[in-house]
Point group: C2
Chain length 416, copies 2
């Protein structure tokens, strides 16, 4: 086992060096050839996926899990389209980020380069195989994928299609590798292999991410939960507030940028909360409030301390009436997950205070937190939304899968 | 113990929030007041330093170690000057890195913000206390310092001077904290406290850094060794090559950006190596070569496989004659530490190949690797030179002690 995973690491390092030689056009041709092969291998991929679905039913996977696992025609087409979209995006590699001219004549270019070898550890959805592989490849990173055991056949079929399709257009060996064994010790090996692996991105539930972080010697970028807040300020435009609050909670409650807690300034609570409650309850939202909120909307359940920490991912909303903006900020910095938080206000002063003091990856004024997304930010694609502060924060697109190096042009300079 | 370190973390997190409220002028005034207090407390600091020196002698510290430990007048003045220099540097916090305008009218500013709480773990030199604290403070980060046990009195006296001097000018509480206990378990607590600490920077030998990395749950930026190469290409200007090689090896051999291995193209080796050997030997450099090199310079010792991995930090140089540029690049990527590597060539093609394929933080053409330094790069100050690829690479100045957040200006936008 040790040897097998170490060998994959060694091969990936070699592959990452080979990758540095490919130009953008070749990389894009390879991505299009992969897209092609995914469609060509559709029947084979679905046959393998069916093995996973049958095993999943046998093992009592929930309906939601089985749904995430299934690769229907639309999803296979979606994978193939996503590969074409990644091919169409600009290539960040080689970009000059900054040029420094020194008095001694040295010219220093800070340029964008691949990270090297990236390990992706993910759970049930097998299309993550194609998505992550394509983003890593576009940025000239070698990738080692480790999917969930419930999708083992699907992941293998997809990885093979990517490798075979890519190879026809010049993909070097071992650029995309899939860990075949479902042995849990393989994960430990992978995340401790700092000689070969430069970055680990775990994509899955909190327990997976925490387990990986505790074992890892390699840097990990974490995608923890989104406990997102909307604070309706005393100086809010209540019409805007209402539509934003409903959108942030109800448009797609099961995702990480949906609102989980509504904070309302006490001076406008009596006017705003009954309207908001009515609109939210029309969508079937269950409200859980503090005492001040329940004094205004009697039908609200009582919120406990645990509710402020909760990522419901469901039609449930915690509601707190706060005495002032400072308490709203303190609440967010105490209970939030530094993901996405919004203030609704017409006051520039309160907006700036909120922007400055809320310690989150994305902070909004007068907009729905649902916009935290690589696509909505104009990144074209995303590998996830980092709740870490290093090395990438918030939506992670292609640029966030790169690092930099300095190249220095001299003409014989020596240090005095 | 657990409670004490956890409490420091909790206080540091609170302090990092307080810090976000300070403007640049206040921060600079605080730095100047710290500089002032270091000079005022000179006698007290030296008395405390003397306790460490006496204990060090008793414990048999080497002369070199005792020298690094000693705080003479010049070094105290140096600490104070460094604080003033950091005050004079531009403040990176609040800088708008990029603005994205979206078709739906959202304006997204990516702005530079502090990382939060940084833990610095360092060995003997007590002036690191002032240097790291000032750089972290300038970038509005709270810092928890853990120095070596041989400098415990010196570090405490310096930290107190910084705290007291700072406080007079408005430094919030707990922005700069020093771990007082020398219990090794405190380090483990610190680096696993991901609830409160955002980044660990260990400054010291490889064994310290490795131990920290293996224990840490918090991201670690590592400053490993510098095994720096100079490759003299077939198309080199040999005059430039000679002065660069001598400078890179001899100007200050004990530092991480000094050359450790010289690679020479076989076609110019017969001409270049005898001259280079003569010049280097005038500086007392011991040469260790491969067979091809020793055929040309008979007095060279034989290099073993271990020599290619060695960071001598001394007047010793490994020398290898290589058949072509590809072998030079392969050697560097195999044995190097991804720190600083140079090619000496007049060929643009070979330069570009070297720039592209050498996977190091800083890559030079026709200049000495000794320039890898925050000051020489125009950063004004540096906290170290990262051999990691994430989140910072190469010389780390103030900018590298920051992260970013997105602030988004809306006017009622909701997601469709």
């Amino acid at each position: 086992m040790q040897n097998e995973i170490q060998l994959m690491g060694k091969k990936a390092l070699k592959a990452s060096r080979d990758l540095s030689l490919l130009d953008s056009k070749t990389k894009n041709d390879i991505l299009l050839s992969m897209a092609d092969e995914i469609e060509r291998q559709k029947e084979h991929i679905q046959a393998e996926n069916n093995k996973d679905l049958i095993a999943g039913k046998g093992n009592g996977l929930s309906k939601a899990m089985l749904d995430r696992l299934e690769l229907n025609d639309r999803r296979i087409k979606g994978m193939s389209n996503a590969l074409c979209e990644v091919a169409a995006l600009p290539d960040p590699i080689g970009e000059i980020i900054k040029t420094i001219m020194r008095p001694n004549g040295l010219k220093i270019d800070k340029i964008r380069v691949p990270i090297g070898v990236i390990g992706i550890i993910f759970e049930s959805r097998p299309n993550v195989t194609a998505d992550s592989a394509s983003l890593c490849f576009k940025t000239s990173n070698a990738v080692i994928l480790r999917g969930g055991k419930e999708a083992v056949h699907s992941n293998r079929a997809i990885a093979e299609a990517l490798q075979n399709g890519g190879k026809r257009a010049g993909l070097p060996d071992n650029v995309i590798q899939l860990i075949q064994t479902t042995d849990r010790d393989a994960v430990r090996q992978l995340v401790q292999m700092d000689k070969y692996v430069n970055l680990i991105i775990p994509r899955g539930g909190e327990s997976l991410i925490r387990a990986v972080t505790e074992m890892a010697h390699v840097p990990v970028i974490k995608h923890y939960k989104g406990i997102c807040h909307t604070y309706v300020d005393k100086q809010a435009d209540l019409q805007k507030a209402l539509s934003i609050v409903v959108n942030a909670k109800c448009q797609r409650p099961g995702v990480c940028n949906a609102m989980e807690t509504l904070l309302v300034h006490k001076d406008i609570a009596e006017k705003f909360l009954p309207q908001a409650a009515e609109s939210l309850m029309q969508f079937g939202v269950e409200l859980r409030g503090n005492d001040e909120a329940r004094d205004i909307v009697k039908t609200m359940k009582k919120a406990t301390e645990e509710d402020w920490y909760e990522e419901y991912l469901d039609l449930i909303l915690a509601v707190r009436v706060v005495p002032d903006i400072q308490e709203a900020i303190n609440h967010i910095n105490t209970y939030g997950s530094q993901h996405s938080d919004a203030i609704i206000t017409e006051s520039a002063e309160n907006r700036d205070k909120f922007f400055k003091e809320v310690d989150s990856a994305t902070v909004y004024v007068n907009a729905s937190t649902r916009f935290t997304d690589g696509g909505e930010f104009g990144m074209g694609a995303e590998i996830g939304i980092s709740t870490d502060k290093l090395h990438a924060r918030g939506p992670m697109g292609l640029e966030e899968l790169t690092t930099y190096k300095y190249i220095i042009y001299g003409d014989g300079q020596i240090r005095e």
